[in-house]
């Protein structure tokens, strides 16, 4: 999978009384094979580089670079030109003009875009991939637990699997409420889960010689086919079974 980069945004922090942030944090979303991202910030597209840093994406695929702005000269909302280039991995790059967002972590209030602060401790560039990854992992864990319970004919394990799947959809509700999930990303995550569960189901079927697990596995395979068709119709990228979770696009 070739890599792609996407400029997530700039967060202005440690804002002075004059609405001038003294720290900037730039977020770049990484998909695919790229272990290091070089991030450059300019005032304008053709202007000199003000800041340059190399950052490694976190487990959720977000590369973050922080810069000190001393003295503070950019007001909140000011547009800056951001360039991102993969410095270690496949070739990919991205550029965008983004405005400085000066929201702060949650102040305990109701949150939301008009609150002035984020409703959670992290900006959406970090929160959305995190909870997306949580949903994906929970769904995968739940289905595999369910399949294991079916294979071993253990109702408590089946129940636990169902409970985890329900919890995963609870996480999904949060994810969908607070984050604008691209269609391709959401169904891509579902397909990734189904593909891996299909493999897990096949292994469990063979290991436990379980007819019920076999039927469940076939149902998962069928579901994977339906999701594949959905993604193809939308001209979405199809995640591979071997794609690491950290490289899945999840916001």
């Amino acid at each position: 999978m070739a890599c792609t980069l996407q400029i997530g945004g700039i967060n202005g922090e440690a804002v002075t009384g004059g609405s001038l942030p003294t720290q900037l944090r730039v977020y770049v979303r990484r998909q695919g094979n790229c272990d290091q991202v070089e991030i450059t910030v300019r005032v304008t597209q053709n202007g000199p580089a003000m800041f340059t840093a190399v950052a490694a994406p976190d487990n959720n695929g977000t590369a973050t670079a922080g810069f000190i702005v001393e003295p503070p000269i950019f007001a909140c909302g000011s547009p800056l030109w951001v360039e991102a280039r993969c410095a270690a991995g496949d070739e990919c790059s991205a550029t965008a003009q983004v405005s400085i967002d000066c929201k702060a972590p949650s102040d305990g209030g109701p949150g939301g875009p008009n609150n002035g602060n984020w409703p959670w401790p992290f900006p959406p560039q970090l929160f959305c991939p995190l909870i997306g990854r949580g949903f994906t992992l929970a769904l995968f864990t739940g289905i595999v637990t369910f399949l294991t319970g079916v294979a071993m004919a253990l109702p408590p394990v089946i129940g636990a699997g169902v409970a985890i799947v329900v919890a995963a959809f609870g996480i999904l509700a949060v994810w969908r409420h607070w984050c604008a999930i691209p269609y391709c990303y959401f169904w891509g995550a579902i397909l990734w889960v189904l593909k891996r569960c299909l493999l897990a189901g096949a292994v469990l079927t063979l290991f436990f010689v379980s007819v019920a697990t076999l039927l469940c596995t076939l149902a998962i395979g069928f579901a994977a086919g339906v999701v594949t068709n959905r993604l193809r119709k939308a001209h979405c990228h199809l995640p591979s079974m071997t794609t690491p979770l950290t490289q899945l696009p999840l916001w």
Binding site: V211, L214, L215, L218, A219, G221, G225, T228, N229, R232
Partner: protein
């Protein structure tokens, strides 16, 4: 007629396929008195019951197939697209085809229902095992009934068979449908053999096809066992020629060489066709596929063999290429709606050095040609749809004919804009083809015919001063004009040092008399008449003693 056929097939299977097994099992269990009439008619005992059931199944599959194939007279010439709107070929005995198709489905459903119960007995040799197994795992009985009644039988309804969701269910449940196992089992074996060869360096890759629950093996040692370039299907396994591009359209010369035409084929297009066979096996059973294989490979086009075999026509419905015959049966592929066929790719403005196909192109030997091709695909199907991000069309430039030993080369044969070189004089045929990833490049080929002028000088190994020697330029060529007539050449000879005497420097063959002992360089410039003065110059040195 489909329903009548399905009922007929079900009854037939009950008595002649499931019946022998069931009755033999009942007899073995001491239950024959409860079935005195049928028991008396079928006094088959295991293993006769199993063999008889298998032979019956094969025989009735063959009869139904032949009936359907006779009633589906696909024209042998030209591309044919079968459409439900009446644009296809006439089928005066269409009801026979429908009856036979229903027969196959009904028969397969009953066999599907029976085999899960019979097979444990067959394998264990103990009839009670089946009953115990069913008693121990009612899920098996439920699954078999579900597959037979809910999944297989609805295939006779055209609206159901042409539903992509149904195709997915049918394909995935084929894994646990025993009538598909004679094909899928062999497919597993071939897949394993291919996989073993991968350990020794053979290029093999496996790609699951999630729509129909099939597994593709791309490459491997067993690919030459079919008519290349192509693929073959064995139940839920299918195998593709490694020369077929996996993700990008490619063109592969047919067995007769490039002069025979082009075959545009991608793994995507082949996948849709081959998984059509997966669905065939799921609905009709493995024996249908084996009979279809024999029909395709051992019968001429006059008997609807080859790609016009009934099994191929049904499988092609899953791809719906615009150049291959297909029957409106299986689900429309992704990206197509209703029962519409794939839209073929089209050409844009394609030129060689700015001139369109058919124009007179004249070059000197060794010249470089600038190639500019363009193609498009209105429905972006199948390549761009199946593999999001891949181009809608793939292209190839190829010299289909060239002078012997010319060694014409194309810098980027699969690139629309590229260059080519024509090293030797004579006639060349340069073709530009495009495919959207389906079986054949329906847009055909755009053909360019460059004519290349080359001066060829033949002189003796050594000459003697004041004695004439012959310089022969008659092997020079400019190829033929568009009408096929040889292009006339004009000759211009010169010799260095200029003291040598040339009899007539405008003839193809001249006499040169050297007047000194220095080596003489004989130079010939030939110009093709009527070709805007295109000329080529060649020289050859002669030692003079």
């Amino acid at each position: 007629m489909l329903i009548v056929g399905a009922v007929f097939g079900a009854v037939l299977a009950f008595f002649f396929v499931a019946g022998p097994l069931t009755i033999a099992m009942a007899i073995a269990l001491g239950l024959s008195p409860v079935l005195p009439i049928i028991g008396a008619l079928t006094q088959w005992q295991f293993p006769v019951g199993t063999v008889g059931a298998t032979i019956s199944h094969i025989l009735f599959s063959l009869i139904a197939y032949v009936m359907a194939a006779i009633a589906t007279p696909v024209p042998t010439a030209g591309p044919v697209t079968v459409t439900p709107a009446g644009g296809g070929f006439p089928m005066p005995w269409e009801f026979f085809e429908r009856f036979a198709r229903g027969w196959l489905i009904g028969m397969n459903a009953v066999v599907t229902l029976t085999l899960p119960f019979a097979l444990p007995w067959v394998f264990s040799g103990l009839p009670a095992v089946s009953l115990l197994l069913v008693a121990a795992s009612p899920l098996l009985a439920i699954a078999a009934t579900f597959i037979a009644v809910v999944i297989v039988i609805p295939a006779f309804a055209p609206g159901v068979a042409a539903n992509s969701v149904y195709a997915g269910i049918l394909g995935w449940t084929a894994w646990i449908s025993p009538p598909t196992w004679p094909a899928t089992g062999l497919g597993l074996l071939v897949c394993i053999v291919n996989s073993i060869t991968a350990l020794f360096g053979a290029p093999v890759r496996w790609v699951p096809e999630f729509w129909t629950g099939s597994l593709m093996t791309h490459g491997g040692i067993l690919y030459p066992f079919w008519r290349a370039p192509a693929g073959y299907n064995l139940g839920n396994f299918y195998f593709l020629d490694p020369r077929i591009g996996a993700t990008t359209p490619e063109f592969i010369p047919p067995a007769g060489g490039m002069a025979g035409g082009f075959i545009g084929l991608t793994a995507d297009g082949a996948t849709l066709h081959e998984t059509g066979h997966t669905l065939n096996a799921a609905a009709f059973g493995s024996w249908f596929n084996y009979v279809g294989w024999a029909h395709q490979n051992f019968f001429p086009p006059g008997l609807n063999g080859g790609p016009r075999a009934y099994a191929e026509v049904l499988a092609e419905a899953h791809l719906r290429d615009s150049t291959q015959p297909w029957f409106p049966f299986w689900a429309p592929p992704v990206g197509l709606t209703a029962l519409t066929p794939n839209a073929p790719p089209t050409f844009g403005t394609t030129t060689v050095d700015g001139l369109p196909p058919g124009a007179f192109l004249n070059y000197s030997a060794g010249a470089s040609l600038t190639l500019s091709g363009a193609s498009a695909d209105a429905d972006s199907y199948p390549a761009a749809t199946l593999i999001p991000g891949s181009p809608a069309t793939g292209v190839r430039w190829v010299f289909t004919t060239q002078p012997a030993g010319a060694g014409a080369a194309i810098a980027g044969a699969t690139t629309a804009a590229t260059t080519a070189t024509v090293p030797r004089g004579g006639d060349y045929t340069l073709a530009f083809v495009a495919t959207d990833g389906a079986q054949l490049p329906t847009a055909g080929a755009l053909v360019f015919t460059p004519k290349v002028v080359e001066a060829v000088v033949s002189v003796p190994i050594v000459a003697v001063v004041d004695q004439p020697f012959t310089a022969d330029g008659s092997m020079s060529t400019a190829g033929a004009d568009l009408a096929g007539a040889a292009l006339p050449l004009t000759f211009a000879w010169s010799v260095a040092p200029p003291s040598a005497v040339i009899a007539d420097p405008t003839l193809p063959i001249i006499s040169v008399t050297p007047s000194e002992t220095a080596p003489h360089v004989v130079t010939l410039t030939v110009t093709a008449a009527g070709a805007a003065g295109t000329s080529h110059t060649a020289s050859s040195a002669v030692p003079v003693s």
